[in-house]
Every structure is written in C-alpha cells, then in structure tokens.
Symmetry: C2
Subunit: 461 residues, 2 copies
Amino acid sequence: MNPSLATSGSSENLNNGVSSKDVLEMSPSKTGHHDRIILTTYPNQSGIDPLPLHWAAASAKERGPILASRLTVCSNEQEIVNNLKKRNAIGAHGGSYSIYHALGICSGALPSNHRPDYANTEPPVQIGPHPQWSAVDENGCPLIVSLDAWGHLVQSAFQKELSDGYDLRPTIAVTKAHMRVPELAGGKLAVDGRTVLAADGELSVVKAAVEPIWYLPGLATRFGVDEARLRRVLFEETGGMYPELITRPDLKLFLPPIGGLTIYIFGPPEYLSDPSKELTVRVHDECNGSDVFGSDICTCRPYLIYGIQRCVETAQRGGVGLIVYFRKEGRALGEVTKFLVYNARKRQAGGDRASTYFLRTEVIAGVQDMRFQGLMPDVLHWLGIRKIDHFISMSNMKYEAIVKAGIPILNRVPIPDGMLPPDSQVEMEAKIASGYYTDGHVADANELDTIKGRPWEDLRH
Amino acid sequence: MNPSLATSGSSENLNNGVSSKDVLEMSPSKTGHHDRIILTTYPNQSGIDPLPLHWAAASAKERGPILASRLTVCSNEQEIVNNLKKRNAIGAHGGSYSIYHALGICSGALPSNHRPDYANTEPPVQIGPHPQWSAVDENGCPLIVSLDAWGHLVQSAFQKELSDGYDLRPTIAVTKAHMRVPELAGGKLAVDGRTVLAADGELSVVKAAVEPIWYLPGLATRFGVDEARLRRVLFEETGGMYPELITRPDLKLFLPPIGGLTIYIFGPPEYLSDPSKELTVRVHDECNGSDVFGSDICTCRPYLIYGIQRCVETAQRGGVGLIVYFRKEGRALGEVTKFLVYNARKRQAGGDRASTYFLRTEVIAGVQDMRFQGLMPDVLHWLGIRKIDHFISMSNMKYEAIVKAGIPILNRVPIPDGMLPPDSQVEMEAKIASGYYTDGHVADANELDTIKGRPWEDLRH
C-alpha cells in the first residue's frame, strides 16, 4: 500500500468541533451507506468482483451492463445486492449533477435508497445498433470510447440485471419535441407539415441527451498517451478526484463529472445512417453568452441558427439534418477564464486586434483551445453516420477530427457574411488566419493588426 | 487509519497490461507532479500546513487567500513553493473544466507548470466590498457560503501571495459586453443610447461569471444537517469523489465540480446596492432545450426574455435590472433525466396532464426538483442587494429562499399569458397548483386532470 496513507491523524479532534473520527464513525443508519467508510478500493480487496465488461462487443449482452453505483440495493426477489463490490466503473451517474443528488439526500428531500421507475422512458425512435458500435480503427482502438452506445437501451437490454438489484442507469435519453427559433420565424422557412409545422418557425425534432462514459484505454490511445499517465494526470489535475483512477487499473470505465452533449435531428432519424440520403451537420460547442444572451463578440448563436436553417432545408429536400451541442463553455476553459480573456483583449496596448486574439487566451489559460475534438466524432459513429454532405462549420479542428475518424465531409459551409455580429470580426479573421475554413480572403499579419474590435468606451455605464 | 486502505493488491499485474504499480511508480518528470502519489492527505501529516483562512472576515487580508492547487511552483524570487502542503481548499479550480485541463496536459497541449498572467483581467466596474460579505444571520451562519466574495479581486488583493508562488485563481470574472436579443428587436425597446443602443435590440450590459466555492460549515447550517453528514453524503453519492471530504475536516472549503452562475446587469451596477433605486431581478435556472433551442414544452426562454425586457425598462426609468443565470439544467437533475421524464409524461395512460406532472419526475428522479434554492440568494448578497422591487418569477421556492435570506420582495411578476408556448400549459398549471405565484386562477384537482399536453402523434417522423 501507499505509505502516504499511513500518516493519518484522523482520530484527534480538530478545529470547529468536527473530527475525522466523527466522520469515520458515523452510523450507517444516518446515511444509508456502508458502515465503514471506504476511501478507495483495490482490485484484490475481499469481495471485490466487478461485473464482466467487454467494451465494443457486438451485442449488449456480450458487452455487459455498466455499473457505477456504490449502493446496497434490495432486488425484486428481496435479495441484498452490494453494488459497491460489483461496480465496473469509476465515478457517478449524472456527471456534475451527482453533487446536487448528494444535497438532495443530505437535505432529506430524496431517500438514499430511491430506485428509479423507468416505465415508458424508452426512446420513441430506434437508434442503432450500428456496425460502428463494435468497430475498431487501424490501431485497434474502438470507434466509440467516450459514450455508451447502449446507453439509451439500458431499460430493455438489462431488464434482468435491473430486477436483480443492479443499480443501472440510462446514460442516453431520446425524445421528440417541438421547438421555435425566433430568427427563423416570419416565413423564413416554408411550412411542410412535417419538419416545419407553422409559419412562426415551429419545428418538429427528435432529440437526445448523452452523458459521457470514458473507456480509458481507448481514450489513452486517442490522445497518444499511455493509460497510466492518463489516469495519473486526471487524478492530479482535478485536485485528487477519484483515487480509484490510480488504485483500480482493472476498472476501465470512468464517468467524468463534465457536461455531456445534446443532439437535434431534423427529418427522419433513420436517414442518418443511410449514405444515399443527403446529410447536413453542425457540431456546436456551447457559448452561453451568445447562444442564450446574444453577445456580439462572437458568431456562436448566429452560426448555430444558420446550422438549424440548413438542417431544416436539407430535411425538406428529402434528406436529414443534425445539430450536436457540446457542453464545452468557452472552448472548455469555462466562463470565468473567457471573461478574463475578454478584459485582457479590450485593455491591451493597441486595443483588441485579430493579430493578438489567440495570444491573450494563451497567456491566461496556457492554451488557445481546450476542446480536444478527438472525442467529438464518437457521437457521429453512434448515429451510424458514414459521410457528411454539408458541414456547417469553419473549424479546421472539427473538420480534421471527423475526417480522421473515417467520415468523409463533402462540402464545408462558412457562415454567411451578413450573419456576422458587429464585434465578431476580430475572432473570425484571427481564426481564418490560423487555419479555419473560408471560401474567401485570408488576412496576412499586417491586415490582422488592423482588424480591431469595439473599444470599451463604446460601452456606456 | 482506515483498515480498508490496507488491503492493497496494487503491485500485481492486472489485465490489459496496466498495473497499479505502473501508475504508482510513474516518475515525476513525466507529469510535473509529485514523485509519490498522494491518494489523500491528513491534517497531521508531515509538512501539511494550510494557509490561514477566516471565512466571512471583514477584509481580504483577514480572510486570507483560497488555495486549491496541488502544484509545486517557482516563486518570483525563485523559491520552490509546494502548494499541496499549503492548500486550504478541497477540489480544483474551474469546476468540471478541471477535467479538460487534465486532458490538455495529457495531450501535451498545455505545460503542467503553466502559470496564468492576469495582467488587464481585473473587473471594469467596482463590485463591493459590501457589508453582506462579512455579515452573519441569526444562527451565526455567514450570509455568503457558496461563493468567494473576493473572487474577482484575487489579482489585486493577493498580489504578494501570487508572486510568492501561491497558485491562486480568480473564481469570478466581471466584464462589459453588447448583446442582441432577437425577440426584443424591431423597436420593442426605445433606443436611449445607454442601455438600448439600437432599434435592433442591441443592449449594453455588465456581466460576471461566478464559480462555486462552498464553505462547508455554512452549507451544513443552511441545509440543517451536521457538517460530518454533509461531507459523508457528498463523498458517497458522488461515487467516492474527494476522500479529503472525509480525511481533512480541517479544510473547510470545497470547490465542487458543478456549473456556476452568470449575472447580467442592465443599468449602473452601483445602483444594485442602493435601496433608493428601483431594482428588477430574474433568477433563471438553465434549460438548454428552451433557452437555446426554443422547446415549446416549458416557459423558460420566454420568461427569461420577458425578464430581460423588464430589466431594461427598469434601467430606462432610472433604476437597474439583474438577471442571474444558474447552470442547473433540468431542475439540477440533468438533461438525460429530463428527457426520460418527457417520454414518461407523453406515454402515460391518459396522456400528459397537469395532475400528474410532478409525479412523473418523482418516480424517475426520486424528487420533484433538485435545485435547492437555499444557496441561490448568496449572489444577491454579494451584489449588496437590500430589497427587490420587481421579482420576475412565479417560483415559490425562489421567492421564499430570497425572503428568508432577509431580502424583501415588493412585487412578484408572473409571465404574461401571451408569452406562453403552446405545450407549456401542463407545466404552468401544475406549478401554480403546487404553490407557484399567480395573480390569476388556481386550478383544482379536477381541472388539473383536464389540462393536457400535445400528444406525440402530433410529432411526425
């Protein structure tokens, strides 16, 4: 064992009246958890016996269920099942929302032994199984390493395990919806009674929410590092989150507490995997300030709306459109870093210029972009996509990741000039000069220095 | 120490060629981290000596800096500072985005010893200090327990500590922006040249992003549980995230990996803390499907837009408006659970009805709502707010949390009927019957049973 764990002073009283002893000796009746606190587990520990799991197997049965729960559960046959011993995944379901789940139990609002009733929650349309779910690339790495391809079918594929007391959760939910985009109202789209239901821009859509599940050996291959290093860095850089990343090399799955993705399908979902049908795709990374609040410093919402418009038009021509929305705020640097960068851009000597656009992010965040598009194409494989006709994005990083994943892109579509917000030119020209796709002019270094953003004086308060 | 930690089988080889030994013996040169892996720490461990911290002290100096980093850093004087020993907070900066940070280092894109340059990142407007930052309630609990009141002033308040090699990070960023809301274009707002800059709905705004920092003793008081139970449940229900929640009762701060909040201020920010000025507030919880994609099953985006409109109008009358946007998707249950509930609502016998609206969430999630508004008023205290004239929300939970926090609300404003999307009536009537504020009719049980949502047959694909 690790000698650093032997230095505990945990039985002594500390400040504010709470001691490790108080925490360690808390009775199970108070929490519904195990009597003894298990800080981490080890593969050879008594009773530890994870459910078998064969990632990227051809069927759900061969793959096996994914179990992250630590709860002791009573089966339908009234047998006690200790999920902690059978777990085959590190982390918790719900990502970040597991923290709120904990607050719910703490506050007494939620019984810790609650078991979900999944009746009527199954997908209303069929997605898969597709050959991509069990395929591997030329390195032997599965095509899908960051989500559970069977995640929307847990309720049916693992019905027996659920009734046997295994606390399994769906990690994907598929539903149908109506939506209305104000920018597409006013007769901008022809009413067809199928995708466009009314002249006010009312659209019919199939959507799905997907929580991340990482297959660590595949993730390591995708990033070109060894698995041990991936586990170590994940542990260290998150401030010591999940010691099982270190102590349980036998557990290959990790449910990271990060936001997932949502897909919106316009037109028949079964066309997505049919290469004879025209397909339009936009892969969009969250930008709350623009997507919701219409900030004028970037092109995010206008490009998203343009993507939806092109998707709808493709469906109306007999094809299908797909929007993938990733929760990667501020290039996955988060909104605090993003706003710090905005300030530094506006205040720098010479003002906000396209020539220094990336530099300002880099001196603050250490990197220009943290989105790592290498995992992004997994969702396209999940949907069975084999080629993309129109890719509504100028990003070279997204383009290269998809093509590298074996999905050809026939046509790249830049945002029309007329849709650019007034202050977004600095970002746009800097990105084009760095390799973003354009069918127009690419600015040189001198020109980039003359492309300036709005000064703050323009912002009166 | 905990006997469960003594059962390590970590030096044996396991499947797929990765063993605990590989991970445990990884050299520091590969990662930039410590030579020995420290799975968790203990208060009396050799060298552990957290920076002093007095939460809710009257000045930044007395409060002390918040340090979560585990990095070894070289100070400006070329001295080596081991942040791991001096840390006074559990967790990592950036919340969920610490996971992407780890991928950045893994992939080689980001040097692990990068230190941010915060030049020019300071807030462009002054927020605080306010008396609320160091005030306590009648139970002796600080008014602010879920964010760092000095989080936007780290760069200036702790300049010396930063140059001494302490790896501190701002947890709040304040900036200025322009935004444009399509629903408010077309002359809906009068151009005033200050808040409304153009007839196309262009608005001038001050905004801030806030990451959560939890003061655990205060959080426990707020939820009415003891701190040891709070720590235990947080640890267990997140699948064993952060053993230091258990082993470090001396560390009172936790940076949870959850989404934070963003505030938007319309009109002069200094008016927020001036009770002589009219103040309009909407507290909005994220709903991506409506806020971005305009789903018609709920009222989220229309209510948000109405809130912005009322905020702007208040600023134009010489007051100030405030929108607070919390990242609590799907009532903090996440989007997968939300979509599962949509399916169960649409498919249940009798169709989607107001009478069974809450029940369907509860059988799946175990609880109707996981947002726990008890921490929400902290941001209002941070802004120095002493009363709210117009509260643009019907939520009784939000209303009660704010009033309980000592901030009177003079006027509650429901969403105008004309803004309700077609399929949102089921939600709206169910909420009103459960206690949401209305100035109109409250449906009884029989009526609730007749208020039905759109069937799925309406959704053609």
